[in-house]
Symmetry: C2
């Protein structure tokens, strides 16, 4: 069944006016007619079965009928990723939604050579991926920040899993086995971290350096593999 | 350092004429001049340091100097993936190269609704990804075959890891823990496997059904996550 994210509060009988794009998708692409059923979620009220009660040229009106799933959030995982080429950042955001990250934080490191990103487009990708993957929230995509600033403000209760290409870190699945609590995964830019960044990271008590195997991975591959292994070792794939 | 895949035999002093595209890449894109060093591999003779000995408008001549790494192959892993949209198949082939699959086999299932794929383009993607990821071979991309035909001819010594969306399979990392020997991962099309396909797969002695978590994954995400978990549990990420 079609799932749509909407910002509205959801309760029995609540009317929901979808955006122009969503209305067009429902009636012109998916060809729903009045009476058709779909699912709605808003990140707060779980998932609701809804019906299409009105479809005009100006848009649709939906009505929430009954809750199909109570609100739950996935495990508390952030993904922090150095800005890379647009196509790869878009892939990363899509996959973060599918692999259950709560938040994607873009970061600027010494060797980051991409300085522009269309946050609106990334939000749209996160929303569409959340609709398709079945989760009840949409991951937030946070504005780019400098890595040093992120580390300065770090809450030490959150483990930072540092994907370290340096070579001597333990395999990720082994390093994370039995760990619990909130976490974040840090993925560097295509050129890797600068030596001084690596040194700072490895000196921080909340950082767990991990290895992602013997081959060189692109940033999007590293992000997807790391989120997968975290879910398998410490998240909701157990 | 630049790495190039070449079909030629590699030995000390061997001359190698790269393709027109490779020559253009070396001299026009990377701006190498005579005397510059690069690395060559051919899938048989390991990796060799080579020098650019001639660069004319018509092309380059390279000379293999000395072996830098002896020939090794990664673990014996195939990826069998139902044909999906072009962009996603291309992502899957690129990631199979990075994640150490030896071979990508395209398959046609009951619900596969894509019937065309440019194999030449997929080979080029596999080659470029192999060059960048540092492996010593290029994964083969095999012609599409029907799933039933693949299963009819299966060598039972190879474990078939079936990514089953049916819900009751064990988590992949747990189901594969301690397994050894050759393996293949099977990923279905966007619409999933048909009930009769799933039934056949679950009845075969060489099949291990596994689960990839509670969310619905696109085919490319499932392929990347499954290769990652296989490498972590049974491959060279341990």
């Amino acid at each position: 069944m079609i799932r749509l994210f909407v910002p509205n509060d959801l309760s029995a009988g609540a009317g929901v006016v979808p955006t122009v794009d969503q209305s067009r998708y429902l009636t012109s692409v998916m060809r729903l007619s009045v009476g058709a059923e779909l699912l709605l979620f808003n990140g707060r009220d779980g998932e609701w079965r809804a019906t299409l009660v009105e479809a005009t040229k100006r848009g649709c009106l939906l009505k929430a009928e009954e809750q199909t799933r109570p609100m739950t959030l996935g495990p508390d995982l952030d993904l922090i990723v150095a800005m890379v080429k647009r196509g790869r950042v878009e892939t990363i955001v899509e996959k973060a939604a599918e692999l259950g990250a709560r938040r994607v934080r873009l970061t600027i490191t010494r060797r980051t050579n991409v300085d522009f990103v269309k946050l609106g487009r990334l939000d749209a990708i996160a929303m569409e991926a959340a609709e398709q993957t079945g989760r009840l929230d949409v991951p937030e995509v946070a504005d780019p920040e400098k890595l040093d600033k992120i580390l300065d403000a770090w809450d030490p209760a959150r483990r930072l899993v540092f994907c370290d290409e340096g070579g001597d870190a333990r395999p990720m699945i082994e390093a994370l086995s039995g760990t619990t609590g909130p976490a974040a995964i840090l993925i560097g830019p295509e050129g890797g971290f600068a030596p001084e960044e690596r040194e700072r990271l490895r000196g921080l008590a909340f950082v767990t350096p991990v290895s992602l195997g013997p081959r060189i991975l692109r940033a999007d591959t590293a992000a997807i593999s790391a989120m997968t292994l975290w879910q398998a070792a410490a998240g909701d794939w157990r």
